[in-house]
């Protein structure tokens, strides 16, 4: 039975029976795609399994990769110092050689939305790490700024297109040193800023969830049979 199970798992694209350590929450978009496909299968509607119409990209495998990075220690907070610094790291090794990346979307969930606690305006910077950490240093050296984003209030989810970066990381795994995330509180709001600052930053550290949604297309699995249907 073990041998046959191994064969079947290979057919599913797995090397062994998975034994996940952490259970990531399933994002709404994956649930929606799954439910739509299930409904289509139940009603016999023909489906193109190599095109993700909900995301508008070709692909037959969707993966949500968890962030495996770490927070960098923060000193005593003041308006001038960053509210939060984190290295984001995504392990792309699950992507097989024959798979082509068609989408890579970084999702940053800053916490639940609320009408009452809007919090201060933030500035969010994503910086590509291009050099490994120097000897004796815990954190890698940040490189060029990938995105600079103004966030009116620290809540809800933000999305960034990381396709070109992820393609580069996938082609050259040595280049995958992660992304440096820095969140700063914008100045000149009101006098309650210092009072709110520690609170906001502590809440952000607790609630921040980063993930990378990648879609890949395997030409071998998307052969003539699925194209015919399309």
């Amino acid at each position: 039975f073990q041998f046959r199970e191994y064969d079947f798992l290979q057919f599913l694209g797995l090397d062994q029976v998975p034994s996940p350590q952490k259970f990531q929450p399933v994002p709404y978009v994956l649930k929606k795609i799954f439910q739509d496909r299930e409904a289509a299968a139940a009603t016999g509607v023909p489906q193109d399994l190599c095109y993700v119409k909900e995301l508008g990209v070709p692909g037959n495998v969707l993966r949500l990769l968890p962030d495996q990075g770490f927070f960098l220690s923060s000193k005593k907070l003041s308006q001038a110092s960053p509210c939060l610094q984190k290295l984001l790291y995504f392990n792309l090794s699950a992507i097989k050689e024959k798979e082509q990346l068609t989408m890579a979307q970084l999702g940053l969930d800053l916490g639940p939305r609320s009408y009452y606690h809007l919090g201060p305006e933030l500035e969010l910077a994503l910086i590509l790490v291009q050099e490994p950490p120097e000897w004796g240093q815990a954190s890698p050296k940040p490189g060029k700024i990938f995105s600079l984003h103004s966030v009116p209030s620290p809540q809800g989810a933000l999305y960034f297109n990381l396709l070109d970066v992820a393609k580069d990381w996938n082609d050259n795994p040595r280049k995958n040193l992660g992304l440096f995330l820095e969140i700063l509180v914008k100045e000149d709001r009101d006098s309650r800023m210092d009072f709110q600052l520690e609170d906001t930053c502590a809440r952000l550290r607790r609630s921040l969830l980063a993930s990378l949604l990648v879609v890949t297309f395997n030409p071998e699995q998307c052969s003539s049979s699925s194209r015919k249907r399309r």
Binding site: S19, F23, E38, P66
Partner: protein, 114 residues
């Protein structure tokens, strides 16, 4: 006139049978998020020559059944899936990734002799 089925009662003829695959029975519920299981079905039954034409058969199955009638060394046509449909699976892998993947030919919709 109806052709009598040789040595095969109706319930033994090739047709689709229900088979629910419960991932818990396989111990796969620990890593498959959804579905919890699915109605995969299977094909089983006889494919007698006299009914090969009426059992959703391929032309090849008809020829094979004909050859079997002439030479019993040639195996009879067998009951196989003739229409399959895909299904999606949402699961965790060993790297704690959440994966949504679509698999073709997972559910037997129709059976026939082939």
């Amino acid at each position: 006139a109806a052709i009598p089925a040789l040595g095969a009662s109706y319930k033994n003829l090739c047709h689709r049978h229900q088979l629910f695959i419960n991932f818990q029975d396989l111990g796969w519920h620990k890593w498959i998020i959804a579905p919890k299981g699915f109605m995969a079905n299977y094909c089983h039954g006889d494919c007698p020559f006299s009914l090969t034409t009426s059992l959703n058969s391929s032309n090849y199955a008809f020829m094979q059944a004909l050859m079997h009638a002439v030479d019993p060394g040639v195996p009879q046509a067998v009951c196989v899936p003739t229409k399959l449909s895909p299904m999606s699976m949402l699961y965790h892998d060993n790297d704690d990734n959440v994966i949504l993947r679509h698999y073709e030919d997972m559910v037997v919709d129709e059976c026939g002799c082939g």
